[in-house]
Every structure is written in C-alpha cells, then in structure tokens.
Amino acid sequence: MAEGDFLALLGPSGCGKSTLLRMIAGLIEPSAGRLDWGRDARREIGFVFQEPTLMPWATALRNVALPLELGGMPRREAERRAAEWLARVELAGFEDAYPRALSGGMRMRVSIARALVTRPRLLLMDEPFAALDEITRFRLNDDLLKLWQAERFTAVFVTHSTFESVFLAERILVMSPRPGRVAAELHVPAGDRATPEFRTSAAYAAHCRAVSQALGRAMAA
C-alpha cells in the first residue's frame, strides 16, 4: 500500500483481520511468510484498540501524554503536546477528567488522540467504533476523516461494517473467512467522497452495494 492511503479491511469475524493488524504492529509474529516494508517505517505506528484501553488511574491528559513519555520526552513538553491533541479531538477542557467520568465516545477520542500524539506515519485501528451507538459512530467517522485529511497518515482500519468502510476508505479489501484471504479489492475515488452529503448520495449507495455484494461472494466462496 502507498503512503497516505486510507485502507479498510472488511470481513466477517474470524477471518484474521485483527491478527493481520497485530502482525503489522509487531505485536505478534507471522507463523509463515513475512511483512514487506518498503522503507523503514516500522516504528512510527499508532494503534487504536477495539476498546478505548485507557489507564483508569490517569487523567485524559496523562493518558495521551503516555506514548511521548515512554519515548523519553520530558513531562512538561509531553503534556503540552497531549493538550494540543486533546483539543484536536474536541476534548479541550477535559484534560483533568478521569476515564470513568467520560462517555464511550469521549474515551475513544482520547484513545485516538493518544495514537496520534507521536505523529505516526501509520495508524492502525482495530474496529475502534464497533461498541459505540450509531450517532456517536457517525460523528467519530466524520472527525477521523478530517484528522486524516489534515495529517495524511497512512491508515489501516479494520471493520465489519460495509457502510463504515465505504465512508472512510479509499481502498477496501474484502476478506473471506477460514482461511482468511483477500477476496476482493474495491476503490472509492476521492472525487466521490468530495460530494457534499456523501453519506446520503447515490454514489455512496452504489459503492455500498458493490462492497456488500463482494462480501457476499467472499462469504459464499
């Protein structure tokens, strides 16, 4: 995949999407074969888990500052940047809130801010919005897209929602279950996404239908 792409991995549970993501992150080793890195981009990775995965004993600010501090940045500087990123995910004013005081959507925003605070070139997301209600999910989709357009990191987004994949990604890889293989690859041109009200446009509906059919074939195969 090319730099700056937004790629979605779409497939049923158990097809190995999350496993693939963890392999990319280096959290698990592939049992055979290898991952091909064009250039040495390996260490600039951000990861957003299915759950917000925040430290309950730390404030939102301290949670976001964590990756920087683990990398050895002085606390003051790390917290300054963490505050900036909290503002960018629209959580300015919640710096001192503990995770239990935040809603599910807000926790996920903190988690995204934490993944982006190191300015990674690659952002991996493992069904990050699966547990959220649809309204919150749409808003987070919008905001994630805005962040991606501003920052142009490469994004790999695992999901099992057809609609989410079409809304977010330029390239969609449809995976088949057991054994997990890439069954189809679809493209959503940037021009289509630029249309106002993309989510209710005819183009969006057409792409969703195409992806849905590809998924159906992958499941049947």
Binding site: P56, P67, Y98
Partner: protein, 255 residues
C-alpha cells in the same frame, strides 16, 4: 442509603445491646466477677487507665511495626514474583505454608529462638499478617489489561516503565484491599503471640493484662482490656479504609 442511617442504625443497635446488658446484670444481680455491666467496665477503664494505657501502647507498637513490615515485604516479594514466573512458582508455595501453619503452634519456638521478646512478637504478628498483602498484590500485578500491555510493548516501554506506570498503579486497589485484611490480622497475631508468651512479667501488651486480670479474677479489668483490643482493631480498619478511599476515590469504582 443515607449516611445518617448508616451511622445511626448500628449505633442504635449497639446502645440497645449495652442497655439490655446493663439492665440484665442489675436485675439478676450478677456478681461482677462473673459478668460486669458496661457501666462498671467503663468505670474500670477510667480508673485503671494508668496500667492499661502503657499496655495499649505496646500492643499498638507491635501491631503497627508488624503491619509495616508485612506491607513492605509483601509488596517487595510481589514485585519480585511479577518479574519472573519461575521465582513466583518456586517461592509461592512456601508463603502458603507459612500462612496455613497455626501461629499458636510455632509461636513458642519463635519466642525461644528470638532473644528479644518484642522481636519474637513482631515476627509472629508479621507471619500472620503478610500473606494477604503478598497474594493480593501478586494478583494485582498480574492482572493488567492485556491491551494496555500491548500498548506499552508497541511503544517499546522498558520493564521498569511497565512496572512503574502500568503494573503498580493497576495493583494499588488489590494492595490496599490486602492491607485492610492484614491490619486486623497483625493485631490478632500480636495478641495471640503474647498469649503464648504468657505473663512471665516480661511482656506488657494488652494480652498479658487480659491474662493477668483473669488469674486475679479482676474480670472488669479483663473486659476493659478487651474493649481496648476491639477498639484498636476498629480504629486500624477505619484508618486503612480511609487511606484506601483517599487514594482511589478519583478513579476506582469500588470503595
């Protein structure tokens, strides 16, 4: 439930029991060497305060020293266990052995071996008290959210960073819960050990006051000493509960 009710309800029960006790003792004219009434016990507590207070202090010292050592050593051992599965597997069974051995049975040995009685009492109290801290903290250090552990791995956190920023804060509620149990146990350990040591005149904690009063049939004084022991236990439990509340209130749900 409102706070007033939570305080008031047990208080009323206590007062009713004490009132019934006092009435029963007076009505049936029970002699004080069989069962003294609460009023007489309170009076004895006041009049014998000069003898009881130093004993209270001795028991308090042993209990606190034992709790401190139990907390420190329990925490240190738990950290060691969390560093290596092999160390944990090799040593944990012996911690269990120490825990299940009745302290009354080994206290005489410890008293013989340690040349200083205070030290012997301290060791006995420690043996009784240290296990909850050790086992709770070990469990806390090992029950870190696996995703958070992966996150730390992703950012190449050192072992020290994982321990200090992830495992220890996560284990704090477990440690404090263990400490609350250990607080009561160290008091029991101190009292039991002193009972075993007997009243050779050498020891001077609350247990020897209880024994002494029993031999001399000064039952009101015995009850007064008992009241002090229970009171001490309640104060220790209350203090540790408060400590745990203050440390956890901002982020932890269970209080």
């Amino acid at each position: 439930m409102s706070l007033a009710l939570r305080v008031l309800a047990p208080l009323l029960v206590g007062l009713a029991v004490l009132g019934g006790w006092e009435w029963g003792v007076r009505h049936y004219e029970v002699p004080p060497y069989i069962l003294p009434g609460p009023a007489l016990i309170a009076q004895t507590l006041w009049s014998d305060w000069a003898t009881l207070a130093p004993s209270l202090l001795v028991t308090l010292e042993i209990t606190f020293a034992a709790l401190l050592v139990a907390a420190t050593l329990g925490l240190a051992l738990a950290i060691l266990f969390a560093q290596s599965r092999v160390i944990e597997m090799s040593l944990f069974p012996y911690a269990v052995v120490l825990q299940v051995t009745p302290i009354v049975a080994i206290a005489p040995l410890i008293i013989v071996w340690a040349d200083n009685l205070m030290l012997a009492l301290l060791i006995c109290a420690w043996i009784v008290a240290f296990f909850p801290v050790l086992s709770n903290t070990t469990q806390g250090l090992n029950s870190v959210d696996p995703n958070l552990r992966d996150l730390f791995r992703l950012y190449r956190a050192s072992r020290w960073q994982v321990l200090w920023r992830l495992q220890l804060p996560g284990a704090l509620p477990y440690f404090l819960a263990g400490l609350r149990i250990s607080g009561g146990l160290s008091l029991i350990g101190a009292i039991v050990a002193e009972f075993v040591a007997g009243t050779g005149g050498a020891s001077s904690g609350l247990a020897s006051r209880i024994l002494e009063a029993g031999y001399q049939l000064q039952i009101p004084r015995m009850f007064a000493a008992l009241v002090l022991v229970s009171g001490l236990g309640i104060v220790i439990f209350g203090a540790l509960t408060l400590l745990s509340y203050l440390l956890l209130r901002r982020w932890h749900d269970a209080r």
